[in-house]
C-alpha cells in the first residue's frame, strides 16, 4: 500500500478521466434504444449503436468500458442497495435500473449467505504488483517500424492475461497477478497479422491470440513456465465486415469482430448470421472458430462449423485457406477442422466467410411448465425425434426455475401480481404440480409469422403429451435474459462469499437424466466431503437438442465461509464433476473447449492415435511453438 501512494494521485486522475469518458458515452446514447428485434432487448446494446461502421463496441483500452476484475460493462452490475434490495445498475439491459425483490431471499436461503458478510474486491488495479514486462528488444524495434500499435501498459497486459474461469477472476479480485503478457499488439488487418507472426517467428516470441477474452477454459492464461517474451495479439481492431454477397448469402468478415457488432451491422442491411452464443456481447468471431462455438439458435442456423464457408488463418508456416468457396468439398480431411477448435495453438484466424440469412420476420418467445424434469427431458427428446425444435429450446431444472423466479423484477401493477398469483395457483393447486419438482422449458421461435404460429402449436402439442402446460411468453423471455446476466450475478455472489461457475457437456439422449442426476449428486457429495459448510447450489439445464443427444449445462456455486482455500475446493469439486460427466458418457466439452483446464482428459477423449495426429499437425505448422499458449495438447 505504501509504495502505492505515490502513484495514487495519478491513478485517481486517470480514473476520473475514465469516468468522464464513460459518462460522455452514455450521454451519446440515443434515447430510443428500441431495436427491430425483440430478442436484441435481452442483450446489452452497444454503447454507440447509431454511429457509423468505424465505431465499434470494443475499444483498444477495453478497461475504459469493461470491468478489469469481473464480467462485462463497468456500468452494469448487481448490488444490494441500502434497503437490502437487489438492483441491477446501468442502462444497457432490460433489467437495468430495476429492483429485484426476490433475489435477496433466494440468495440467502440458497447459499446460507448473509448481506452482513462481505468479501469486496480490490477496487483498483495496482500496477506495481504486475511483473515488469520481459521484452524482446529486437522484436519491439522491428514492430515499431511496421507502425502497428502496441502497448506495454500494465492495465492492458493484465486485462489480456485471463479469461473468466473462477480462479482467474478470484485472483484478480484479490489483486493477485500471475504471469501476464509482456506486451499487447493491435493489428488492424490480415496483413498486420502476417507481419506480426513473421516477426514473432523471426525473434522467437510467444504469441497468444486474444479475441473477446470470454474463455472459460484457462485458455488465455500465460503458461508460467514460458520464458520467452509473451505478446498478446488482440484482434479487436480487425472488426470490419469486408463484403456481403447477397447472391450467395455470405459475408466476409474480419475475425476480431464481436458478436453483437456483427449482428447489428448485418441487421442494418437486413441480414443476420443467427449465431448467438451466450457470450455474444463480447466474444469474437475468431474465438468462435478457434473453440468450435455453438449458438443458442443453432437449430435454425447451425453451429459455427455449419456456418463458416471459408477461413483464413495466419500460421508460422504461412497463411492457410481454401481456394474456393464451394459449399461442400470432398478434398480429403477438411482443413477447416484443423483450424476449428485449435484454440490458438496453430495461428490467428484473421478473416472468415460466413453464411448469412435474411432477418426473421417474426420472433416469439414461449415457455412450458412440466411436472418434473424427467417429463421435460422426455418432451425435448420427442421434439428432437420429430426434428421440430424451435430456434431455441432449453429445459431448466427445478432449482433453476426457482432461480429464474427470484430474478423477476418488481412488478409495476397490482394486476400483474394478481395474475402471477393466479398462474401459480392454477399450476400448483389445480394441476397438482409440486413446486419443488416442476421445471420449465423456454422456447424461441423464429421465421415468418404463419410458420412460427404453426410451429408453436406443434411444439405445444408435443409438450402437452408429456404433461407440459404453456406458461407464457414472459417466462420464456426472462429465461433467455438470465443467460446474459448470470455472469454478472457471479460477481454479486463473489461480493458475499459465494463462488461458482458453469460447465457444459454433450451426451446421448438415453443418458441425459442419468448424467444430470449423478453430476448434481456428485457435486453435493464432493462439497460435503471437502468441508463446505453450506449445501451448494447444484443445478443443470438442457440447452441444446440434437438428433442423437443434447447439450447439458451445470451450474455450481457455494458459500465458502469457513474455507481457507475456496478456489482449490472449487477446482477439486469441478474436477470431480468432470470425471463424473465422463464416467456417465458425457463429452469433455460441447463448446467451451479444452484450454488448459481440461487438457488432462484429452488423451482418453481422442485416443493415443488421435493425440498423435493433433501433435503432428502442431509440429508441422508451428515447430517452434510460437503460438505457445499450450492449450489442448
Amino acid at each position: 500500500m505504501a509504495s502505492n501512494s505515490s502513484g495514487g494521485s495519478s491513478d485517481r486522475q486517470r480514473i476520473a478521466q475514465q469516468r468522464l469518458r464513460i459518462i460522455a458515452g452514455h450521454l451519446q446514447r440515443p434515447v430510443d434504444g428500441d431495436s427491430a428485434i425483440l430478442a436484441a432487448e435481452c442483450k446489452a446494446q452497444g454503447s454507440k449503436p447509431d454511429t457509423s461502421r468505424e465505431e465499434k463496441t470494443v475499444p483498444r483500452r477495453r478497461q475504459e468500458i469493461m470491468k478489469w476484475n469481473g464480467w462485462g460493462y463497468s456500468d452494469s452490475r448487481f448490488l444490494f442497495n441500502k434497503k437490502g434490495q437487489a438492483e441491477f445498475t446501468g442502462k444497457r439491459y432490460r433489467l437495468s435500473g430495476m429492483i429485484i425483490p426476490g433475489l435477496k431471499d433466494w440468495f440467502e436461503c440458497t447459499f446460507g449467505a448473509s448481506l452482513q458478510h462481505k468479501t469486496p474486491a480490490t477496487p483498483l488495479l495496482n500496477s506495481s504488483a504486475v511483473q515488469p514486462p520481459t521484452l524482446n528488444e529486437a522484436f519491439v524495434e522491428e514492430l515499431k517500424s511496421t507502425g502497428i500499435p502496441f502497448s506495454q501498459d500494465a492495465e492492458d497486459r493484465v486485462f489480456r492475461a485471463h479469461g473468466h474461469c473462477l480462479h482467474e477472476i478470484f485472483a484478480l479480485r484479490e489483486g493477485k497477478f500471475g504471469r501476464v503478457p509482456d506486451m499487447v499488439v493491435w493489428p488492424n488487418c490480415h496483413n498486420d497479422v502476417v507481419k506480426i507472426v513473421e516477426l514473432a517467428s523471426k525473434h522467437n516470441v510467444c504469441l497468444i491470440p486474444y479475441g473477446g477474452g470470454t474463455s472459460v477454459s484457462s485458455a488465455l492464461e500465460c503458461p508460467p513456465e514460458e520464458t520467452r517474451s509473451i505478446v498478446s495479439l488482440d484482434t479487436s481492431q480487425m472488426n470490419r465486415i469486408l463484403w456481403v454477397d447477397e447472391k450467395n448469402l455470405t459475408a466476409h468478415v474480419e475475425a476480431g469482430i464481436v458478436g453483437q457488432d456483427l449482428e447489428r451491422l448485418l441487421n442494418e442491411s437486413g441480414y443476420c448470421t443467427g449465431h448467438e452464443p451466450d457470450s455474444m456481447e463480447f466474444s469474437s468471431l475468431g474465438g468462435w472458430v478457434a473453440t468450435r462455438a455453438s449458438g443458442m439458435k443453432k437449430n435454425i442456423y447451425g453451429n459455427i462449423e455449419d456456418l463458416v464457408v471459408h477461413i483464413k488463418m495466419v500460421t508460422p508456416q504461412g497463411v492457410i485457406e481454401k481456394s474456393c468457396q464451394g459449399p461442400r468439398m470432398s478434398t480429403g480431411p477438411d482443413i477447416h477442422h484443423f483450424i476449428m477448435g485449435s484454440e490458438g495453438t496453430l495461428g490467428v484466424v484473421t478473416e472468415v466467410t460466413m453464411k448469412i440469412r435474411p432477418m426473421p420476420e417474426y420472433q416469439k418467445y414461449g415457455s412450458v411448465v412440466f411436472p418434473n424434469f424427467e417429463q421435460g427431458v422426455a418432451c425435448l427428446r420427442e421434439v428432437a425425434r420429430q426434428r421440430c425444435a424451435p430456434a431455441s429450446i432449453r429445459l431448466m431444472d427445478n432449482e433453476q426455475f426457482k432461480f429464474g423466479h427470484a430474478l423477476k423484477p418488481q412488478v409495476s401493477s397490482i394486476f400483474t401480481s394478481f395474475l402471477d398469483g393466479l398462474k401459480k395457483f392454477y399450476i400448483t393447486k389445480f394441476k397438482g404440480f409440486d413446486p419443488n419438482r416442476l421445471c420449465v422449458a423456454t422456447l424461441l421461435f423464429e421465421g415468418d409469422r404463419e410458420k412460427v404460429l404453426q410451429h408453436e402449436k406443434q411444439v405445444y402439442d408435443i409438450a402437452a403429451k408429456f404433461g407440459g402446460l404453456a406458461a407464457g411468453e414472459d417466462n420464456g423471455q426472462r429465461g433467455y435474459m438470465l443467460t446474459f446476466v448470470i455472469a454478472y450475478l457471479r460477481d454479486l455472489g463473489m461480493d458475499y462469499y459465494v463462488i461458482g461457475e458453469s460447465f457444459e457437456t454433450s451426451v446421448p439422449w438415453d443418458r441425459v437424466l442419468d448424467i444430470c442426476r449423478n453430476v448434481k449428486a456428485r457435486i453435493v457429495r464432493e462439497c460435503k466431503e471437502r468441508g463446505v459448510q453450506f449445501p451448494p447450489l447444484s443445478t443443470c439445464r438442457v440447452t441444446q437438442t440434437y438428433d442423437a443427444g443434447a447439450c447439458v449445462y451445470f451450474y455450481f456455486a457455494f458459500n465458502y465461509r469457513g474455507l481457507s482455500d475456496p478456489v482449490h475446493v472449487y477446482e477439486q469439486v469441478e474436477h470431480a464433476a468432470r470425471e463424473e460427466i465422463l464416467a456417465n458418457g458425457g463429452s469433455l466439452s460441447h463448446h467451451h473447449g479444452v484450454g488448459k483446464l481440461r487438457k488432462e482428459w484429452m488423451r482418453e477423449t481422442v485416443s493415443n492415435v488421435g493425440m498423435g495426429m493433433l501433435k503432428s499437425v502442431k509440429d508441422y505448422v508451428d515447430p517452434n511453438n510460437i503460438f505457445g499458449n499450450r492449450n489442448l495438447l
Partner: protein, 672 residues
Amino acid sequence: MASKAVYSQRDPMLKKRDDFEDILEERRNSSDLRYALRCYAPVVYKGLCPSKAGTLKSMVLQSDQLHYVIHQVCRETGRAVDDVQEEVSSILEEMAHRLQLSTVRFFAFTLSKVFKTLFRSICVNEEGIQRLQQAIQEHPVVLLPSHRSYMDFLLMSYLLYTYDLALPVIAAGMDFMGMKFVGEMLRMSGAFFIRRSFGGDKLYWAVFSEYVKTMLKNGFAPVEFFLEGTRSRTSKSLTPKLGLLNIVMDPFFKGEVFDVSLVPVSISYERILEESLYARELLGVPKPKESTSGLIKARKVLSEDYGSIHVYFGQPVSVRSLAEGRVNRCQFNLIPRHIPKKPSEDIHSFVNDSAYRLVRAQEENMVLKPWVLLASLLLQNQVSGQKRGIALDELTEQAVWLRDLSRQYGAFLHWPEHTPPSEVVSSSLSLHRGLVRISEGRVQLALGQSYAVTPEEELLSQAVIILSCASYRNQALHVFLRPALLASAIHTASSNKKRRTDTVFNSFSFLRNMFSNEFILCPGATVQDFEEACYLLVKTGALQVTQQDVLVTERGHRTLVFLTSMLDPFLQGYQVVCRFLCEEATEALTEKQFIPAVRKFIIKHLLAGRLRYTEVLSSDLQKNSLAALLRLGAVRKIKGYCLGSFQNISTLSVFFCLGGKLPTQKAVIARL
C-alpha cells in the same frame, strides 16, 4: 477409504461395535395383535417412483433390455416373438413377488408367537438400524444377510417391520415354491423365486436381472439376497456367489443410479434350528425336500430352547466408493446400455473382491457365544483321545484362556461380563445338552449313546454329534484362521525352533492357496493376511518375527498348538482326499460318484483307526478339497463330466506337502 469402509483395521481389537437391544422384550410385554396391526409408514428412497408390484411387472416387460433379448432369442431360434414374449411373462409370473402388507402383518403376529417360544432374545444393534434408515433414503439399498437358517429371511423382514423400515424383496431359491401355500405366503411377504441354475438360459437371465434392477433403480424396496447363495451347513461362510451382486452393481456402473448401498447383516444363532439336520445332510442323508408337512412335523422344535439370536446390521458400503479407482465406468459409453454384455475382466475381479470383502464384513460382526469356544476345546480334546473327557474346571480354565485370546484377535464375543466363568460354562453346556455329556465333573461330547448295530452305523451317529459340534467351532474359524494358517505353516516349515521367514511365508501362501475354497480368503491378499497373522501372533507374544527368522516363544507354544489343532482336521481331510485319488480312483470318476466313493474310503480308514478326525466325513470338506485340487490342476475334468486324476505326481506332491514331508518350494514348482 473404500477398503476401510468394508473391513479390517490393522488391529482387530480396535474395532468399534454397536450395542444390542432385545426386541423380544417389548413383545413379551405388549399385545402382538396390536403390534401386527399398528400403523406402518416406513421412510422410503428419495428418488422413489411409487409403483405397485403389478406395475413393476409391466415395467420389466416393457424394458429395452428385455425387448432386445427377446428379439435376439427369436432370431437365434426362429421362434415367434409372441411365443417368446409369452415365455417371458410366465417366467416373470413364476418369479415375481406379491408383497402385501396384510401378509406381513400375519407373519408379524405369528412370528412374534413363535420367536417368543423358541428364543430367549433377539438382539439387534439399533445404531445399525438407524444407519440403514438413513441409507434407504439416500440410495437404493441391498441387504446382504448371512445365511445359516431358513429363519433368516423371515427374521429379516420381521425386524424391518418392527423398526418401521421399508420391507425388502428377497431372492429365494425355487425349492421353497414347492411348498404348497407356504410358498405363496412367502411370495406375499416379499420373496421372489429364482431357479437354482439357469446358466445358459439367456432369456431367464434377462428377465431375472431386469426384474431385480427395476426394483432397485426405482427404489421400490430394498433388495435382499444371500451372498453365499445357500444356507451354510457348516456355519463357515461360503464362497460368495457373484451373479446377483453383479446385477445389483450394474445400475451403478452404467450410471443409472448415483450409488448403491450394500448392507452386510450378520445373523448369529446361539443354537441353530437345523443343527442335526445339517450334520445328517453332510453325512450323506439327503436333504428332505421342502414341504409344508415337513414344516409341520418340524414343530417339535417349538418345545426347545434355542437361546438367543444376534442380528448386526453392518456399516452400509457404498458401491461408488468401493469402485473408486478400480472400475472405469467409461467402458459402458460405447455400447447402448440395454444390450447385455459379459462383464469385463476388471468388473469381474472387482465384483469378486467386493463379494469377499462383504462376506468378511459379515463374518466380523458375527456374535460368538461362549459355547463356540467350548465346542472348539471339546473337539480338540476328543481327538486327543481322552476317553473320559475333560474336567469341568479345566475346561473353564481353558475357556477363559481362549476367551482372552479370541478377544485379542478381534472376535465379537458375547461373554457375560459379571458372571463367574464357571457359571458361563455350565449354562452354555446346558443349552447344548444334546451334544455334551457331563458325568462326575468331567465333560465330553455325547458320543456313543446310540444302540447301533454295525460299527459303521455307530460311527455315523457319532459323526452327527461331532459335525454339529464342529459347526459351532466353525463360527470362530474366521477369527483364528489367519494365525492358524501361520501356525500350521510354521509347523510344516521345519521342526526347528527357528524358521526362515521366507520359508514360512511360502508355506503360508501354499496353505492359504490350498484352502481358498474352504475359507473366506480374499483373492490376492496373501501378503496382507500374512502380515495380519504375524501381527496378531507377535502382539500376543507367541512369536518373534524378523526379516530373516520366525521364532516361537516359550509362552507361544500353547497358542500355536491350539491354532494348529484348529486347522488340523482340514489338513487331514485334504490329505485323505488326495490319498483316495491316488490309491483308489485309478479310473476316471464322475462327480456324482466321487462323494460316495471318498466317503467309503474315509469310513474304512476311520474304522481302521488310521484317521483321527471323524469330521472329515463332511461332504462339504470333500467337495471343497476336490474343487481346490481341480483349481490347482492336480485333478482335471475331462469331457465335462468326468474327473480323472491324471496328474498323479502333482497330487502326490500336494499330499506330501500337507504332511510336511516335502519342502513347500518343490510342491509349488510341481504345481506350476
